[in-house]
Symmetry: C2
Subunit: 137 residues, 2 copies
DNA sequence: ACTTGACCTTCCAGTTGGTGGAAGCTTTAC
DNA sequence: GTAAAGCTTCCACCAACTGGAAGGTCAAGT
């Protein structure tokens, strides 16, 4: 564990697992505060900034949209937050994931069933194309 | 059932459930062949074109990426195709869907577990934020 | 001292699959 | 006759980055 220190974007990237390009993008997008600069315009990051970046990274890995990540970050830094707000965002995201899962599962099963019925040989007959080309539903 | 007839993009859109904008986009993207034109530059569609659009629409509803839709369409119009090719595309897509499903399911479960442990009240304590802000993995 | 390579900076383009709107021409309906 | 509806093209925008070009800076090696 190194003590507090300022670092360049490259090191902050290495420590947070967020690539430099993405850090700049988050800054531009208003997800994180603009970094301080050295006299030669290099961005400078503190350990606290790295923590923030890690937070963003974890939230993204859980699939939260960036807008929600920004809100979560605000709540994270607000000592007077109500956990109700956080839970609301989390449950909203779970609901969105459930919708997406249902959609993808339906697709997957439809195609898998069709593929199973397809011979997969040299001949043209194919239930997959037949289904896609069906005139009637 | 109307007999064969030429129609404008609006009617083709209505019959195929693919909006005019999207039809033009598919043409621009090379998914479908450029439509014939009248002397006043209006696009003209035949019943066969509508069939093609419906094919594209169904393939998209099953989540096939546009590139794969283009390939499927080519196979669909090739009487000498091997169903092997079609099946290969279908199984590749099933595999992609399975990967996505695994990813989303993992996200969903992680967040659901965290949310369950969150009181969701006025107070700031929150396992969701705690997890996102965790210094150690 | 100088050069090379690895950083950093900004800006622009591309990705995927469309959607919305502006500006302008036709055609249709009243 | 005129206005609404529908057609045309082109440009911009959504998410969430990623890649590359052009140029500035800095540390190390010779």
């Amino acid at each position: 564990m190194k003590p507090n220190g300022m670092m360049t974007i490259g090191e902050a990237a290495a420590r947070s697992s967020v690539p430099p390009k993405t850090i700049r993008f988050y800054e531009e997008a208003g997800i994180i505060k603009p970094a301080a600069r050295t006299e030669n315009h290099y961005r400078v990051y503190s350990d606290a900034d790295v923590e923030t970046l890690r937070f963003v990274q974890r939230a993204r890995m859980l699939g939260f949209p960036l807008k929600d990540v920004a809100e979560l970050l605000e709540l994270y830094h607000d000592r007077k937050r109500a956990s109700r707000e956080v839970k609301k965002l989390a449950l909203k995201h779970v609901a969105a994931l459930d919708r997406k899962l249902a959609e993808l599962t339906a697709m997957r099963n439809t195609i898998a069933v069709l593929a199973e019925r397809c011979q997969g040989n040299d001949r043209p007959a194919c239930p997959i194309l037949a289904e896609l080309g069906a005139t009637e539903h």
